[in-house]
Amino acid sequence: MINAKSFSLPSRILHWLMAVMILIMLFIGVFMASTAGPNYHRLVTLHRPLGIAILVLALVRLANRLRSPPPALPEEFPPIMKFGAKASHVLLYALMIAMPFVGWGMLSAGGYPIPLWGQSVLLPPILPHDPALWAALRSAHTVLAFLLFGMVLLHVGAALFHGLIREDAVLRSMTWQAKADRE
């Protein structure tokens, strides 16, 4: 059986769209959580729907990934490297899905109303009102966000290593140039 050399077009669109969204989200998050300035409320108001959009896209992406498997990694990679690549992708998926749930869940546990868009559309609580749980999840949201950011840094570094140093097919499999490789 012949593996495609590239990610399918939907996979690539989802990847880059979500890469931008997640990076924006991480930056908005740490910025708003360390400001008492005039944009605080606006940023929190943007953070919620953007986070929920990431959740929806991540679930679509997961389904898409199960339907169209990714291209195989170059065969000469030692198993440990293949494992590292796989494991890091699994972790990225897990965090893309966990972060919005933790955000939504913590506001539920904190007894906050959770406006999704404007003030009129509210998300239902997904956890019971429980202040201790709110405190724990609020910390978890921070810890997981830092883990996600650390993973993204490694991921970007690895992608560039493949693209600039090894010049193998890995970076191209996620970019538009890859079309040329297609059979």
Binding site: V30, S34, T35, H41, E75, G110, Q119, L160, L164, I165
Partner: protein, 364 residues
């Protein structure tokens, strides 16, 4: 397929390329999170300033720490419905969870007539369109911006040598903030009522009422007591006399306040809570608050929430008042911090709030 070495040799420039992107992202992240700008005004710096004044009291609110929970209802009369489509302002009754407190982060401070008293309310109409507010019994707020709030806190922190604020430091703050003089004088010379029940509480910050057609109207509001007002004079020599009086009142009868909405006039400054509005502004009686029960914070329903002033229903929006942003941010942080700590027995215990004759204190 020719196999490459795992790490082929490459120019330093290419390696720089590999390292540069993650490094740039990491630096940007550190900047965004305020780690490269230690003097940024943040949730943490505001709470640190409060702690510098009041000390560390795990489990308690970082400000307005001494308080008691109450419940009751709010009955809108529809008079303000033309200005705001908020469902709480239509005619009808909604349940309320509230809290009375003394300003300041010391949970065991002694009651005294001139200490700032507060009322906090959570109005809960069906459908989740909540309205939360924390309102104080002063005519105006002492500062105009969050930075000034923090600077004033730091200026009035106790001197370790005397245990009292250093007058020179407070003087220095005043000298560089001459525009706050009027507010300071208005707060100092405000009339004092006898207790929580006959006090008037004010939003101080401005908000926007949003009508059905999208029209925005700048407003402030106050809760005006229906109980007769008596001036503060001699009071019981009791550490908690204000709270005891409130508890006795609520056990004897319900307490009521009228929600008076003030519509900004042409010359009123909207976004500065240190400036009062004109006396002849239009006032709307928007409904009546009735409080009927009182409970200690230890078990009461006001403990597990924060009265974030930006939890607003559809039909009420924040104004450009910068204090509101800082409040929303700081209340969330205070709420998260205290919720992760064990709440010690508060000053106003369940025994004190129990109905007289109902529970005779702890059985030994």
């Amino acid at each position: 397929m020719a196999t490459k070495p795992l790490v082929p040799s490459a120019s330093a420039l290419r390696w720089l390329g590999v390292v540069a992107a993650p490094t740039a992202l990491a630096l940007g992240f550190l900047w965004a999170g305020g780690w490269l700008t230690p003097h940024r005004l943040t949730q943490t710096s505001l709470l640190d300033a409060l702690r510098a004044v009041d000390g560390t009291h795990p489990g308690f609110r970082r400000n307005h720490a001494k308080g008691v929970c109450v419940t009751g209802w709010f009955e809108g009369n529809g008079n303000a419905a033309g200005l705001s489509m908020a469902s709480v302002l239509q005619s009808g009754r909604v349940p309320v969870v509230g809290r009375f407190a003394l300003a300041g982060g010391m949970p065991f401070q002694a009651d005294a007539p001139a200490k700032v008293r507060s009322m906090a309310l959570r109005l809960m109409p069906p459908g989740g369109q909540e309205w939360r507010m924390g309102i104080n019994d002063i005519p105006v707020f002492p500062v105009r911006t969050p930075q000034e709030f923090q600077d004033l806190q730091l200026a009035s922190r106790p001197d370790p040598a005397t245990g009292k604020p250093d007058p020179a430091r407070v003087q220095a703050f005043r000298a560089v903030h001459p525009w706050l003089q009027v507010a300071g004088a208005q707060i100092t010379h405000r009339p004092l009522s006898s207790g929580f029940a006959d006090d008037t509480y004010r939003s101080l910050d401005s908000f926007l009422f949003v009508g059905k057609d999208g029209t925005e109207t700048a407003v402030r509001w106050s809760m005006v007591p229906l109980q007769p007002v008596t001036p503060a004079d001699a009071h019981a020599d009791d550490h908690d006399y204000l709270f005891r009086q409130l508890i006795d009142d609520l056990h004897a009868h319900s307490l009521q306040w009228r929600l008076m909405v003030t519509v900004a006039g042409n010359h009123d400054v909207i976004d500065d809570p240190s400036q009062g509005w004109a006396e002849d502004d239009r006032q709307i009686d928007a409904g009546t608050l009735t409080l009927t029960t009182v409970e200690s914070e230890e078990s009461g329903s006001c403990t597990g929430i924060t009265f974030d002033p930006l939890v607003l229903p559809h039909g009420i929006a924040p104004s450009g008042d910068p204090i509101l942003q800082a409040r929303s941010a700081a209340y969330m942080r205070s709420f998260a911090a205290r919720s992760g700590e064990k709440l010690p027995v508060p000053a106003i215990t369940p025994t004190m709030t129990a109905a007289p004759g109902g529970a005779e204190g702890k059985k030994s």
